[in-house]
Structures are given as C-alpha cells and as structure tokens.
Amino acid sequence: MRQDCTETRELLTWYASGGLAPSEQGTVLAHLGACEACRLELAEALRVARAVRSTVRQIPGPPRRALAHVLANTEGVPIAEIEMGSSLAGVSLGMSAGERGLPIRGRLRLLGREVEIFRVSRSLSAAV
C-alpha cells in the first residue's frame, strides 16, 4: 500500500463520520480521485457510519420523570449544608423557609444519613 493510502485511510473514518476539517477533506478527496482501493474503503467507512447513527437514533430519550427530578433538585437557592445529630433542626429549617414562601433546598446530614430538604412548586407537583 502506498504511503498516501495509509494516511488517507486513517482520515477516511473521520471523513465518513463528518468530523474532518475542511483542509483535511481536500487531502482525502484529492487522493480518492486517483485511488480505486481507497474509494472502496470509503464505501465501507460510510456504511459503518450510517449503521451506527441509525442504531443510536433508535435509543429513546430519558423518561419524562427525569426532568421532574432535575427540576426538583435544582429549584431554589441552596440555603444550608449542615451536619448535626438532631432532626429538630431540619424541621425548623424547613418551616422557616416555607413561611417566606420561597422554594428552598437544603441538605442535612442527620446521624450520618444525608437528607434532602426541598419544597417543590405547585406547577412541578402537577407535572410529576
């Protein structure tokens, strides 16, 4: 195999996947015009690229609940990241923020167990 065939074949994969810079595309195209063997190689590279794309496209997106989870875990301002041994503190934290009517989020470490505290807005509760 000629030296420029070796170089071309390395780039062909990327030419077929659509990730080759325009300058490199020129090199590939110039070579392909003069080399039958590399044209066959390109046909194979294109078949692989098409097959992978069409396979991946058949993977569905995430279920709707994923967005609800993301929104519930990002809503509001994180107001506390505290560590303590009493659950009473968690209760008072939740209440005080609730009275202000703000969507809040806190993270408590209670007796070594992490507990998320957040209040979800009405629109989100309806969406879940």
Binding site: T13, E44, V48, V52, Q58, L67, H69, V70
Partner: protein, 171 residues
Amino acid sequence: MVDDQGAVADVGRGDRRAFESLYHRYADRVYRFAFTLLRNRHLAEEVVQETFIAVWKGAKGFEGRSQVSSWLFGIARNQAHALLRREARGERARELPAPLPDPEEAFARDQLASRVWEALGRLSEAHREVVFLAYYEGMSYQDIAQMLSLPEGTVKSRMHHARRALAEVLT
C-alpha cells in the same frame, strides 16, 4: 432562539426557562451517550439527572472556551464514571421507580441495529465513547482528544479499531 452559549449564560444567572430549554435540547443526546456507554437504562437515566443538576450548579463557571456540547458530554462522562464507581462499591444513590420498556427492545425489530448494538457491546467503554462522539455527534478527532484529555493518536487508533470491528458485522 438563544444559541447554546447564550442559554448556558442565562442558566448561570438562574434562568429556569433557559435551563429547561437547555434540557430539552440536550437530554436525548446525553441519554443516548450514557446508554451507549453504560448499556443500562437506569444508570443512563441517573446520568442525565446528575448531569443537568451539575449543569445548573456549574453554568456560572462555564467560560465558553469549548463548545457547550463538549462541556455537557464531559460532565455526563464524569457522572457516568462516578456512578460506576458507586455501583462497584455497592452503593446506589437511590432506587428508581417502575421499570420502563428497555431501549434494547427497540433494536429487536431491526436486525442491523441489533448486530451493531451487540458489536458495540463487545468493544470497551473507552472505544464506545469515541464511537458515539465521532459517529453520532460528528466531533473531530481533535475535539474528542481535547475533551477526553487523550493524545490524538489514541483517539484515532480507538476509532480505527472500532470501525474494523463494526464493519465485520455489516458484511
């Protein structure tokens, strides 16, 4: 419509609408990436969730030096690896509710796709991520190398190996 960079800047300022719009633009792609890597729908779902939670927290720090998509896939990749480490230690963050139809069922009706999917399964995770980023996202080897902090030669050789393996099941 705001471009990706603008959307991330808005998210950094706490814009919920921009955040949801970014989610809708990228959630499917991130899920497909995670599912291709991990081949497990529960884990893929968790990767999507953790990725966007991280995006919400980290949007302020996005400096726009890379494309938004590379930034996002980079986060997703870190989340996927973190999940795998937790799995390996036997710690699961939380159990997800009711199982959903397996995405792999979708391939059952498409012989070519199931052969490709099987072939992908025989590749390493490191090869699968390059395959996804190159073929599905159309990224250049330069960008993939930068995103994965790998030499360009490594990215090229992984792709070369993967293409050979995939070509075999197509003949």
